[in-house]
Amino acid sequence: MSNILNTLMQDDRVWQGRRHKQSTQPAEPTGYQVLDNQLGGIGWPRGALSECLLDAHGIGELHLLLPLMQRLSGNGRTVFLLNPPHTPYAPALAREGIDLDQVVIVHTDNDGDFLWTLENCLRSPVTGLVMAWPGKLMSRDIRRLQLAAEAGSNVCVLFRERRYADQNSPAALRLDLEPDQNQNLNINIVKRRGSWPGQHCSLTMTHRADLSFSEAPGVVQGPWPASGR
C-alpha cells in the first residue's frame, strides 16, 4: 500500500466499514431468528418508521408481525391497526394468543385524519405497535411521521405497495416482501439505517395455515373438476 494511503488510514480521515459497530438503537426482536440476524441481531427499530412493501395480501405479512403483537399485547401495550384493508379476524387473532383488549382498529376518512391519528398514536406512551395501511403518502408526510415516531418509542410499520421501493423514504427500515410458490416469504432489505441494504432471507410461513409440504395435500378430491373450472 502506498504511503499516502497509509497516512490516510492512520489519520482516521476515512471511515472504514469493518470498524462499523453494532447499532445501538432500541429495537424489538421480530421473533424470527433468521430475520433478526439480517437486521443486525436486533429486529424492528423502536422510535422509527419501518416499511413493508408488498403487492398482495395474504402472503404472511401479518404473521411477520405476530410474535411482536403477542409480546406487546401481553405486556399491556396497545396495538393500533390503522385503516386495515380487510377485517382482522378476531377468532384467528385470539387463537394466536393476542390479547384482543389491547388491539384497537381505527378507520379514517381522509389523509389529514390519517396522518393526525398516526401521529397521535406514535407520540403516546401507551402505544406498543402501530400498523398502518396508508393510501398515498407524500415524502414530507413520511418525514413528519418519522419525527412523531422519534418522539415516542414504539414500533410503527407502514404497509405500502412495492412500486414505492424506488421512491426515497426517510423510514429507518424498508423491507420488500415477496411470496414464492412454496409458502416462503422472501424478504429483501431495501434500506436499513446504519447498515447496508441488499441482504435477503427467506422465512417459512407454512405454520400460518398448519400446512406442511412434505405431506401430500390433504384435499379430498371432490368438487373442483366437477364444478367445471
Partner: protein, 473 residues
C-alpha cells in the same frame, strides 16, 4: 337562628361582565319601560344612572351595549350563585330576584366564629367578581332589609340589629306605597316608630298583613323558609354581549365554565364522561355538541382540549349568542389502583384515556373499534366489533386452543374466485348453519394458494360457485 343575606344589586350585569374581557359601557334595560336598571362603572363614568330613560342614556354614551333584562335568565344566574354558596352553607333560601339567604348560626363553630364566616363569603364573592351587600340578622326579613340598604355589619348582637332596623325609613322597610302613606299620615317616619306601637292597635288601624310583616321582622312571629336543594346536575350558561363568530373565540369563556365544572366535580368528588355544549344562535336552532371522554374525567384542561378538537372539526354554523354547558351524568370517583406502588399503571391508564378520547373527538366514536370472537360457526358472524373500553378480562388459554384454524384477514364480503388456484392444501371443511335466523350458510371451505402466492381461504357454495373469504396474512 342567625341569618346571612346576600343582596346582589346588579347581578345580571356582573354575570355578563364576567364572560367578557374587554368591552365598552354596558347597561341592563328593563323590557317594557325602556329604563336603565343597572349600569356598569364605565357607563356611570359617562353619566348614565339607574332609572334613566334609555334615550337619555344613549345620548350620553352613543356606543352603549344594551342588554334587555330577562327574568328567566336572572333566576338562572341566581341559582348559579346558590350552587356556589352551597359549598359554604347547607341551609340556603333563594329570594328572587336578587337575594340569597343562608342560615349561619350553625356554621360559627365550623368556621371559627362569625368574622371567619363573613370573610370566607366575601373572599368567594371577590373570586367570582360579584358585587354583593352582606348582612347578618336574627330573622330572615330583618336581615334582608338591612342587606338591601347596605348597612350590614358583622355582628350577632340583637340590640345593634334592632337599632339599625329602627332607623330604616318606611320605604326601605318594604311596605306598600299605600301603607307607607297611611303610616306617614299617622306621623310615623321610621320603622322604629312603628315598632313602638301596640300590636292590637296596628292590626286594627292598618291590616293584619302589615302586623304580620312587622312581627316577622321583629321575630315574634314564625317565618318558615323552604331550603333550596341543589339539583344533581351541572348547568351553566354564558351569554355574550357581542356575538361570537369564530369557534376560537368560544374557548375563552368555555375555559372559565370548565374550571367551574372542575371545581364543582371536585366538591362532589365525582367525575363525568360526557358534556353537552349547546350553542345558541340568533336565528337558528341551537347547535348541540356532545363531548365524550373515554373514561371518567374531571380536569378542565382535558375537556378543553377535546372541545378544541371538536371546534376544529365543526366550524360554527352561525354566530353564537350564548353557550350552555351541562352535565347530567356523574360517576363516583374511584380510588387509584392499589396494585402499583409507584403509580406507573395509573399514568398509563390516564394516557390511554387521553389518547382514545382525542381520537374519538376527532374521528367520531364509530371510527374506533375493538374486536372480539363470538360463538357462531358462520365465519362472518364469529366476530364482533364493539366500542373501545379499557378492561382487563382475559380469555382462558384452554378456550383459545379449541378455536379452529382461521385466516387472519377476513374479507368484508366473499369475493368471487377468478382463477384456478395453483395448489390445494386442505379441505373441505363444511360449515353449515344459520337455519335458525334465516341467514343460511352452507359452504365447503378449502385452503388454497393462488398464482400470486397468496394463501386464500376459499369456499364452494352449493348454489353460487367459488368465493374467496379470507387471506392467511
Amino acid at each position: 337562628m342567625l341569618w346571612l343575606y346576600l343582596h346582589f344589586p346588579h347581578l345580571l350585569l356582573d354575570h355578563l361582565r364576567r364572560s367578557h374581557e374587554s368591552q365598552g359601557a354596558l347597561v341592563i334595560v328593563e323590557g317594557a319601560s325602556h329604563k336603565v336598571i343597572q349600569a356598569c362603572p364605565m357607563a356611570k363614568e359617562q353619566g348614565v344612572r339607574a332609572g334613566m330613560r334609555l334615550k337619555t342614556a344613549l345620548s350620553l354614551s352613543p356606543d352603549l351595549h344594551i342588554v334587555r333584562a330577562d327574568e328567566q335568565q336572572e333566576a338562572r344566574v341566581l341559582e348559579d350563585q346558590a350552587r356556589w354558596l352551597y359549598r359554604y352553607a347547607a341551609y340556603i333560601v333563594l329570594v328572587p330576584p336578587d337575594g340569597l339567604l343562608a342560615e349561619i348560626g350553625s356554621l360559627q363553630k365550623l368556621y371559627g366564629g362569625l368574622p371567619a364566616v363573613w370573610q370566607t363569603v366575601e373572599q368567594g364573592l371577590n373570586e367570582r367578581q360579584l358585587d354583593a351587600w352582606i348582612a347578618i340578622g336574627h330573622t330572615p326579613l330583618a336581615t334582608r332589609l338591612i342587606a338591601r340598604t347596605g348597612q350590614g355589619e358583622c355582628t350577632s348582637d340583637t340590640g345593634h340589629t334592632m337599632r339599625t332596623l329602627s332607623q330604616l325609613s318606611l320605604f326601605d322597610a318594604g311596605f306598600e306605597d299605600k301603607t307607607c302613606i297611611r303610616l306617614q299620615r299617622l306621623g310615623l317616619n321610621t320603622l322604629g316608630e312603628v315598632f313602638s306601637l301596640p300590636p292590637a292597635e296596628l292590626a286594627k288601624r292598618l291590616s293584619p298583613e302589615v302586623l304580620a310583616r312587622i312581627q316577622k321582622i321583629q321575630g315574634t312571629r314564625p317565618d318558615p323558609q323552604t331550603p333550596w336543594q341543589p339539583p344533581h346536575r351541572f348547568r351553566q350558561q354564558t351569554d355574550f354581549v357581542q356575538e361570537i363568530e369564530h369557534s376560537q373565540g368560544l374557548l375563552f369563556p368555555l375555559q372559565r365554565m370548565l374550571l367551574e365544572l372542575e371545581d364543582d366535580l371536585c366538591w362532589r368528588q365525582q367525575d363525568t364522561d360526557s358534556l353537552l355544549l349547546t350553542l345558541q344562535h340568533r336565528h337558528q336552532e341551537p347547535t348541540r355538541l356532545r363531548i365524550r371522554t373515554s373514561g371518567p374525567e374531571h380536569r378542565a384542561e382535558a375537556f378543553l382540549k377535546l372541545a378544541q378538537i371538536r371546534f376544529e372539526q365543526h366550524p360554527l354554523r352561525a354566530p353564537a349568542t350564548a353557550v350552555i354547558l351541562s352535565v347530567k351524568r356523574f360517576i363516583g370517583r374511584e380510588a387509584p389502583n392499589e396494585r402499583d406502588l409507584l403509580g406507573d399503571t395509573r399514568d398509563l391508564n390516564e394516557a390511554w384515556h387521553t389518547l382514545i378520547s382525542r381520537l374519538q373527538a376527532r374521528l367520531g366514536s364509530d371510527s374506533l373499534t375493538q374486536l372480539s370472537p363470538q360463538a357462531d360457526h358462520r365465519p362472518e358472524r364469529a366476530w364482533s366489533a364493539s366500542d373501545v373500553v379499557r378492561s382487563s378480562r382475559r380469555t382462558p388459554a384452554s378456550e383459545l386452543a379449541q378455536l379452529p384454524r382461521r385466516p387472519l384477514w377476513l374479507l368484508k364480503g366473499p369475493k368471487p374466485l377468478t382463477e384456478t388456484p395453483a395448489t390445494w392444501f386442505s379441505g373441505p371443511e363444511r360449515i353449515s348453519g344459520g337455519w335458525w335466523d334465516g341467514q343460511r350458510v352452507h359452504r365447503d371451505y378449502y385452503i388454497a394458494q393462488l398464482h400470486t402466492g397468496q394463501l386464500a381461504w376459499v369456499f364452494h357454495d352449493a348454489r353460487d360457485g367459488w368465493f374467496v373469504h379470507g387471506w392467511f396474512g
